[in-house]
């Protein structure tokens, strides 16, 4: 789509769904992947200029058919927007949806949210002096945000895919087998996971990718926004508490929670904000299995890198031992 025509369609959609005249300024592509592109723009609404984010999904069938297509069920753009709307209603700092695009907009599936300023880069958030005071608030904020997410009524979001821990482990085996990987450390991790599957988990809305890197952070107010709701699912809420502790997502920061906090402070904040009582061993399972899952993520990225002959993804393929090393340290009590 040519740029002037794209801008004209976006302007018409904004005018129709948010407010006239919808004149667009500073339209800028932020990120673009095979399945999703993110744009930033300003628009005139009434007499004011407002700041927005546009998320577009590729129009469905563009994705190549793959034997792994069903393993990580992504919700659609429309469902993604509905999850964020429910989250905001529950008091979660999720992006505020202002418009859900429809076929008549001619832009493909997607939505428009309000733009929020702040830092998303993990290494800066966990290490930069500028964020020192933000870091003192973020563990408590994580606990409160997770408690609010896990309180959302699942009946509001019946389309969320459900995978329990055993199914998630089975999916990782399928991926390893699809790529013909015979890796003792990975096999050890998966077998350990099978032997430690939590019993009687609760079932709630789960964000699925709750971690540093998906937070928009302000210097004085900490977490302003929680991004990336597209793998939201229903499952064991402890999954979200474990994932934010996975060492990869600490970006070299000192605290096990996101590179900035202590586990016991996260659990206390979660319980205080009305979350269910936390079993640290269950969270530890999800942290350990999270590392194994990320090792599989590295494998997939690396294989895509080989396919596209792309240096970035190829390099991620060579990171597979990092999370497996972290996994081993965690289960042997050598982690902090």
């Amino acid at each position: 789509m040519s740029s002037p025509e794209f801008e004209a369609r976006l302007s018409a959609a904004v005018s129709r769904r948010i407010g006239a005249p919808g004149t667009i300024h500073k339209l800028e592509r932020l990120t673009g992947g095979a399945n999703k592109t993110t744009w930033s723009f300003d628009a005139e609404i009434g007499g004011r200029r407002e700041e927005f984010i546009l998320q577009l999904s590729s129009a469905g069938a563009a994705e190549q058919p793959s034997p792994l297509a069903d393993i990580a069920p992504h919700i659609t753009a429309d469902q993604d927007a509905r999850v964020m709307i429910a989250a905001v209603r529950a008091g979660v700092p999720a992006p505020r949806v202002r418009a859900i695009l429809e076929p008549s907009d001619g832009l493909g599936p997607g939505y428009v949210t309000e733009r929020v300023a702040g830092e998303t880069l993990g290494p800066k958030i966990v290490r930069d002096e500028k964020f020192a005071s933000a870091r003192t608030m973020m563990t408590r904020q994580c606990g409160a945000i997770l408690a609010a997410i896990h309180r959302i009524d699942l009946k509001e979001l019946p389309f969320l895919p459900y995978q329990d821990a055993a199914q998630l482990v089975a999916v990782q085996y399928r991926i390893a087998d699809y790529y013909g990987l015979h890796h003792p450390a990975l096999e050890l991790g998966l077998k350990w996971a099978i032997e430690h599957i939590p019993r009687n988990p609760r079932r709630t809305v789960v964000h699925g990718d709750f971690r540093t890197g998906n937070f928009i952070v302000g210097e004085n107010d900490g977490i302003r926004l929680l991004l990336d709701w597209e793998i939201a699912q229903s499952g064991d809420p402890m999954q979200d508490l474990g994932w934010v502790c996975v060492k990869t997502w600490r970006f070299g920061g000192p605290g096990p929670v996101g590179g900035f906090g202590k586990r016991e402070d996260l659990f206390a904040a979660y319980e205080k904000a009305g979350g269910s009582s936390v079993d640290p061993d269950q969270v530890r399972f999800w942290e350990a299995f999270g590392s194994v899952k990320w090792a599989i993520g590295c494998l997939r990225m690396g294989m895509r890198g080989i396919e596209e002959v792309g240096i970035e993804r190829c390099a991620i393929g060579r990171r597979i031992e990092e999370p497996l090393w972290d996994f081993l340290n965690l289960i042997e009590g050598r982690d902090n």
């Binding site: 003792p184 077998k191 240096i311 060579r318 031992e321 990092e322 090393w325």
Partner: protein
Amino acid sequence: MPRSMPDAPTLLKAAMKYLEDELMPTLSGYHRFKTRVTINAIAIVKREAEMIAAQTAAEGARLAAILGHGGDTETLSAELAEKIRAGAISVDDPALRAHVRQSLAEALAINNPKWFDR
């Protein structure tokens, strides 16, 4: 064929030196990022060229001790992976744990030695 000179690690070191010292200072944004990733990839290949032979031999010896028979390292490693999955060796087995830890340490020494400091 006689060994060509300079050897592979030396060639890669020279390539990295040019990229790092001369090219990087002229770059910004996208190309600076991609060149950084490229330099890291060359560093991996250099370390692999230096270490892989000794590592493969040591790994093969460890695997032979655990499995009770010899063979080429890749085949033995796949056999161990199979045994773990089948439950024929416990994930708590100290010899297995020690081997896996050592193998991960060796791979990290090639792929990202900085990870040990994390």
